[in-house]
């Protein structure tokens, strides 16, 4: 018994003393769903370490916002070589810190619904925001954002707060992209149908949606892929809206103060190879950033294919976000 638990104890106590970062280690700041054992992190680590003859360490922070926060706080003394897990909502703020270094990677292989040319950020996956619904509770979901906004009160949905969560901000931008200046009044119309606004996606999905509190929740168009492929159930589907869906792109970037720029560059290039991307679809439950061909799981063919991709330039989002949040707050607080 003791002998069995010894390695375990060592595994716990070792990290507390191991301190030195040898010069062949790439440190990547990321968020939990990437680095989790079910996430793409472990597979990516193994594949990259084989290729580079180095070691890859993840530092796991609570969310994309925290990665950025940590980077800002650490400034020039940061340990990070690469940040992975920022998205279209946070990347402009990250750009303004001046702590990120340009890459020299050809982005031709990218397979995104929008044209992507950026000197700092390399996309590693993408997806659409969408409302996921329970087919058993809601056989006939709304067919458009407009229909949802005008739905009778007995249709209740769960959303996340744009002040604290990424999909929450996504919906705010989605409404803005569709309704422009009329977004405020549309939010007012929608407010009757909102059961509640949770702090994070996890709170809403786990505590409320999976408990059957509401038949519909703001999530990603790719969420059903997991339920279909792993849970083997078709019960949860994404509702396709006529106006189109808002795009989220998750990105990585090299850190300017890094002393491992060559390795960091190699990693960014590695992101756009199948060895990295094959872990994305079912482990991050998002679309891969390059065309994976046959390797893309079959269930992805059964996901909704929005007619239009809605996307507001991140620079404009960064500039207007505060005003849009105020507009939302004013619409929602009577």
């Amino acid at each position: 018994m003791l002998r069995q638990s010894l390695p375990l104890l060592a595994a716990i106590s070792l990290p507390l003393v191991a301190n030195a970062t040898d010069n062949n280690t790439l440190t990547v700041y990321t968020h939990p769903s990437f680095a989790a054992d079910w996430g793409p992190g472990p597979g990516v680590k193994e594949a990259f370490e084989q290729q580079c003859g180095c070691s890859l360490d993840y530092v796991v922070l609570e969310s994309g916002g925290d990665i950025l926060q940590r980077l800002r706080l650490e400034g020039q003394s940061t340990d990070a070589d690469v940040v992975l897990g920022l998205d279209t909502g946070t990347m402009e703020t990250a750009r303004q810190t001046g702590l990120l270094a340009p890459h020299d990677i050809k982005l031709d292989a990218l397979d995104l619904p929008v044209d992507w040319q950026d000197s700092l950020f390399v996309p590693y996956d993408w997806g659409y925001f969408a409302f996921v619904y329970d087919t058993e509770e809601l056989p006939d979901p709304p067919k458009s954002l407009e229909e949802l906004v005008n739905a009778p009160n007995d249709l209740q949905v769960i959303i996340q707060d744009p002040r604290t969560s990424t999909p929450g901000l996504g919906l705010l931008l989605w409404m803005k992209a569709v309704y422009g200046d009329r977004a405020g009044e549309k939010w007012q119309a929608l407010s009757d149908n909102i059961l509640t606004t949770t702090k994070s996606w996890s709170d809403g999905y786990f505590s409320l949606f999976m408990n059957g509190e509401a038949p519909m929740i703001l999530s990603y168009s790719t969420s059903p892929a997991y339920h279909m492929a792993i849970d083997k159930t078709d019960r949860y589907q994404a509702a396709e809206f006529e106006e189109g869906h808002y795009l989220q792109v998750e990105v990585a970037a090299m850190v300017e103060p890094s002393d491992q720029k060559d390795l960091a560059g190699e990693f960014l290039r590695f992101i756009l190879t199948p060895d990295f991307q094959r872990h994305i679809p079912l482990k991050n439950v998002m679309y891969p950033a390059i065309d994976l061909g046959d390797e893309l799981p079959d269930v992805f063919a059964r996901l909704i294919q929005p007619d239009a991709t809605l996307f507001i330039d991140p620079a404009r989002v960064a500039e207007r976000r505060k005003a849009w949040l105020d507009e939302w707050l004013n619409a929602m607080i009577p």
Binding site: L8, A11, I12, S13, P15, L16, T21, H31, P32, S33, A35, A36, D37, W38, G39, V59, V60, L61, E62, G65, D66, L68, Q69, R70, L73, E74, S77, D79, T93, D161, R163, T164, S191, I194, L195, T196, T197, T198, K199, S200, S202, D203, Y205, F206, S207, L208, M210, N211, G212, E213, A214, S223, Y226, I230, V285, K322, L329, M332, I333, P334
Partner: protein, 560 residues
């Protein structure tokens, strides 16, 4: 050891510096940490526009709503807690009393996401209870809004209040209880002679504690609040810091929060100290109360049953939901089981030191307050409450700014996490230990002074035997709070190795809903285990005391 002219033995650590020094250091450290924390944020940012506070309609609403929901939640939690404590005092032989006490202790340390999931399953739109109520009555219950916020806050805090009030009620000296029993006092007079004097000593402290908890509540208010109209100050702080990187505004709001809670705490503490004069000897014997019979007994039992259901149903929901996932892990074993085991060990490796640290530093601070005068005592009360008033994200960011140069890498963070968890548990821990530590009666103190039982010796012979039970409970709270912590550990960044709550969030992030439900259940089991384990030593002692007290009652009766 020094010998005086009259040959007395100097006790170790009995120099006044030892009585006050360490506690004062910790108390000042806590306050300094807060001040430097807020200052560090301000230093990183421009000075905020203070007038924004009253000009901005949104902020105005936020502050008003925060105060309002906290007031309602506190009032209801205290009221329910008081009724429960009184019923428990009246019915010492209520079957399942011990279990109820454990569950009451547990509810406070439940991680929000677990508790909310359980509450929703029972009281939600499609909850068990809602279904029953709506089928049999015409009542239409809506969880989302102030209803849900208050319900959840009462779920978390009424048991805490009840637990502390019960401790106070049980400390009423036996002679006084005997007299009340003999005179057959009932109703208002029993309340005025026995219960109110006991409750009055702790009520202000409990009220301040519960109010602060509700005031700073975050995820609950958002999830059950229904929409952005239900926003606490803490949300606004989080938003400024995490999304807008507006350190100045975050600091300003943090100061507002500190001022409101701090002022309240200070007022409460002043009152509770002026009332804290009646010494209490420990007489845990059970003396039948005139009001514990008949209809009253039925009422009490009914109340206790309802309260048990109120606490147990959500836990039962967590159990039902998590059982399949946990069973799968246990039966299939392999990778998930290993992870669960490792995460469990890792969680305990953080939580046990955190609990020990918080109990230890709590003792130091409290012993300072018992030796020193009123100022030191007030300082200790407010300082230990500070960790509750400072938003963890502000504290975390500030600590990060302060400690960054000395932090080797994120692995060192784990020790820091234990430390911060310990600090966060201080308000609860000190609340539990304050009474037993400071309520030595006069004759005991005089004896001890004359015999030179000071410093270490006083601790060894006077405090330790009396404190074992509250200390164990405090240790359980400290450990439990750290065990369920997600906020602090996520703030400091963890290496790929998760603790149980981090594992839970990782599973959620990867859509492993069944597994996550299993992990949530496992976490509840661990918390229950912690409270059960730490209540064991006290239980045995209690039994012996009970036997001893029967004799004592007989002996005292002889010459009474």
């Amino acid at each position: 050891m020094r010998h005086s002219p009259f040959g007395y033995t100097q006790a170790p650590f009995s120099h006044p510096a030892w009585q006050i020094g360490p506690g004062l250091t910790i108390a000042c450290g806590l306050i300094a940490l807060t001040v430097t924390g807020v200052a560090a944020l301000l230093w990183q940012a421009h000075l905020p526009e203070v007038s924004e506070l009253w000009r901005n309609r949104y902020l105005n609403n936020v502050i008003r709503f925060t105060v309002w929901q906290a007031t309602v939640s506190t009032a209801l939690s205290l009221l329910l807690g008081l009724f429960i404590a009184l019923a428990l005092v009246r019915q010492p032989r209520f079957p399942g009393r011990r279990l109820l006490l454990r569950v009451m202790e547990l509810s406070l340390v439940l991680p929000t996401i677990v508790a909310v999931s359980g509450l929703v399953a029972v009281y939600g739109r499609h909850g068990w209870l809602t279904a029953i109520v709506e089928q049999w009555t015409t009542v239409r219950w809506n969880l989302y809004g102030l209803n849900g916020i208050v319900l959840a806050h009462v779920f978390f805090n009424a048991p805490l209040a009840g637990r502390i009030l019960l401790q106070a009620l049980e400390s009423v000296p036996a002679p006084r209880r005997r007299i009340a029993s003999q005179l057959g006092l009932k109703g208002r007079w029993l309340w005025r002679t026995l219960d109110w004097p006991a409750v009055r000593r702790v009520l202000p402290g409990v009220a301040a504690l519960v109010f602060t908890l509700c005031f700073t509540s975050f995820a609950i208010v958002m999830t059950l609040g229904g929409g952005p109209a239900s926003t606490t100050l803490e949300v606004a702080i989080y938003q400024s810091l995490r999304f807008e990187f507006d350190f100045g505004r975050a600091a300003l709001l943090a100061v507002v929060q500190l001022l409101i809670c701090g002022a309240l705490w200070f007022l409460m503490v002043r009152r509770s100290l002026s009332a804290n004069l009646s010494p209490a000897r420990e007489f845990p014997e059970s003396i039948p109360r005139p009001d514990s019979q008949g209809v009253r007994r039925l009422q009490d039992v009914a109340l206790l049953l309802c309260f048990s259901l109120f606490l147990l149903l959500p836990l039962a929901a967590v159990l039902f939901r998590g059982l399949p996932g946990l069973a799968t892990v246990a039966i299939n074993g392999g990778q998930p089981l290993n992870e669960m085991t490792e995460a469990t060990l890792r969680s305990f490796a953080i939580a046990l030191p955190a609990g020990a640290f918080s109990v230890f530093s709590g003792l130091l601070v409290l012993s300072m307050s018992s030796r020193g005068g009123g100022h030191l005592s007030r300082l200790s009360s407010v300082a230990t409450a500070v960790p509750l008033m400072v938003p963890p994200i502000v504290l975390g960011t500030a600590l990060f700014l302060l400690l960054r140069p000395s932090l080797g890498n994120s692995y060192d963070g784990l020790a820091l996490v234990a430390l911060i968890n310990g600090v966060m548990a201080l308000p609860f821990v000190t609340q539990l230990m304050r009474g037993p530590l400071n309520n030595l009666d006069k004759s005991t103190v005089r004896q001890a002074d004359q015999l030179g039982l000071r410093g270490w010796y006083r601790w060894r012979w006077l405090h330790w035997p009396r404190l074992k039970r509250p200390l164990a409970l405090a240790m359980a709270y400290g450990t439990g709070l750290s065990l369920g912590d997600f906020g602090v550990i996520a703030l400091f960044g963890t290496p790929g190795q998760p603790t149980i709550p981090v594992l839970l969030y990782q599973q959620l992030g990867s859509y492993r809903m069944d597994l996550a439900a299993g992990t949530a259940l496992w976490l509840v089991c661990l918390l229950l285990l912690v409270f059960a384990a730490f209540s064991l030593p006290g239980y045995r002692r209690n039994h012996r005391n009970l036997a001893g007290n029967v004799f004592k009652a007989l002996a005292e009766g002889r010459h009474a």
